[in-house]
Symmetry: C2
Subunit: 287 residues, 2 copies
């Protein structure tokens, strides 16, 4: 297991962590100030400054990407299928332009939440089938673009409205079905927030292996959780045994960035330099 | 699958559903008014009127019980182990006195939340081991009292503070380990709120079979969920495909009550007769 205590060279910042503090240019500048070497930007943050400007900002700052957030939201009614496909193809094009190593996929939950306006459904089994079919379709375009897809299982609390892929096992089942040869085109993005509770998580990380472990995200689970989406904790402030999970992915050969992704009303209220300084400290002491 | 549309003979009321509207005597009287035949009372509600009075109230109203809530909270530090054991033995004695068919077990999460004052831990693996050991110990006393234990897997959103048993598979693994002969002494209580998201839920219900299916609880999952504990929905108001889950348990031979358990700030604010009338309507139309 790598020693993170002496520096933060393996820290990447998911830019949603400071999305309320400024635009992507502002965030990139702050990362440069703090010696942060990598980011994972969100599509809306890229769109709001324009793709070309985002590409230049990242390049000029000498930043790497640890991923691109996000593709997915695959579940919809029939009327929106083409829209969903094309939206995800644009995500791939953007990821290529930005030099991302992978796109993080959030599957989508029931269609009425994944793609608003879609006919309402309670059929999560059908939603899951639709996700697998849509990833299969996206994989063709992504493989031509040489852009790996990283399926991110989300915590079961988001099964209805964000992602019906809720366990590492489920994500890996999709990988094995669509990419049995482990070509590197399909894998998982594991966020400790979503997987820490899972009794199967350690054997599933071993099952994933280096080929499938495309990204590793950290934050913490707060008790109580005051907001089901936006009360994620800074590493060390909650109950997740982060180090045991990082140890497990590194035991499989994962050697990428430890990406900090915190959706938090509390941290969004603080100055960006304070947030990044705290991220760096906790990366060294709690990750 | 039983037809619930014509009457509510298979409706049981978990008394937490109306816990803010009055004491257990008040709730029992309301059930009698509405032709509800069964309840699942909570220990604190029994304690607040006294066990003897609770026993008489239930008997005089001709009510059955569909369970007794709840035993468990097994995780603690060493100093509290005897207290935990004795607390659960008292729960068994109360359940026997009340004529309950089983005790619902909520495992407990990390020890500092399960038994406040316990030394803080982030070790959920150890917590799970402690739960299995404690159920093994409780099972001896429960078997002598002929009181079945029903392990209730809770939604992973409660893994830290309420229960580290979070899937039906996990609960059944404990059952198989401690009661391989399927004596009827140990099984599961399945609440649609906790299990609906689980990709493994249908095969695990089949694995449970009639022997292990000791209780079936219903409510609904709201989108958005405004409070992680107390924003559960009335059946039909949320996204759970309740009927497919009831169909699955009944296909295994479950023929007991469909118990309504709703923790909801919104429903606690309404008059008890309105809540019970709505429960009855939704039991017929949405369960």
């Amino acid at each position: 297991m790598r020693d993170f205590s002496a520096d933060h060279r393996w820290l990447s910042l998911n830019t949603a962590t400071v999305r309320k503090q400024g635009d992507l240019v502002h965030i990139v500048e702050a990362c440069a100030r703090h010696g942060i070497r990598a980011i994972d930007p969100w599509r809306d943050q890229v769109a709001s400054i324009g793709l070309d400007r985002a590409v230049r900002a990242v390049r000029d700052a000498g930043l790497e990407l640890s991923g691109y957030c996000r593709g997915g939201m695959f579940t919809s009614d029939a009327a929106r299928r083409i829209e969903v496909r094309d939206d995800n193809r644009r995500a791939i094009d953007e990821a290529v332009a930005l030099g991302a190593p992978c796109i993080v996929l959030v599957a989508g939950g029931l269609p009425q939440y994944s793609r608003p306006g879609s006919a309402a459904s309670r059929d999560i089994v059908k939603a899951r089938t639709q996700v697998t079919d849509a990833i299969a379709e996206m994989l063709v375009y992504a493989s031509e673009a040489k852009m790996p897809l990283a399926i991110e299982p989300l915590h079961p609390a988001y099964a209805a409205d964000r992602a019906c892929v809720n366990t590492t096992m489920q994500a890996l089942d999709i990988c094995d079905q669509l990419d049995p040869q482990r070509t590197g085109a399909l894998g998982v993005a594991l966020d400790v927030y979503h997987i820490w509770w899972d009794p199967e998580v350690l054997p599933q990380i071993a099952r994933a292996g280096q080929d499938r472990l495309l990204a590793f995200h950290v934050c913490d689970w707060m008790v109580p959780t005051k907001d089901i989406l936006n009360d994620r904790g800074m590493m060390g402030d909650g109950v997740i045994d982060i180090r045991s999970l990082r140890s497990a992915v590194e035991a499989e050969g994962f050697s990428g960035y430890s990406e900090i992704e915190i959706f938090s009303n509390a941290w969004w209220d603080r100055p960006i330099d304070e947030v990044l300084q705290t991220c760096i400290e906790r990366h060294r002491s709690a990750v």
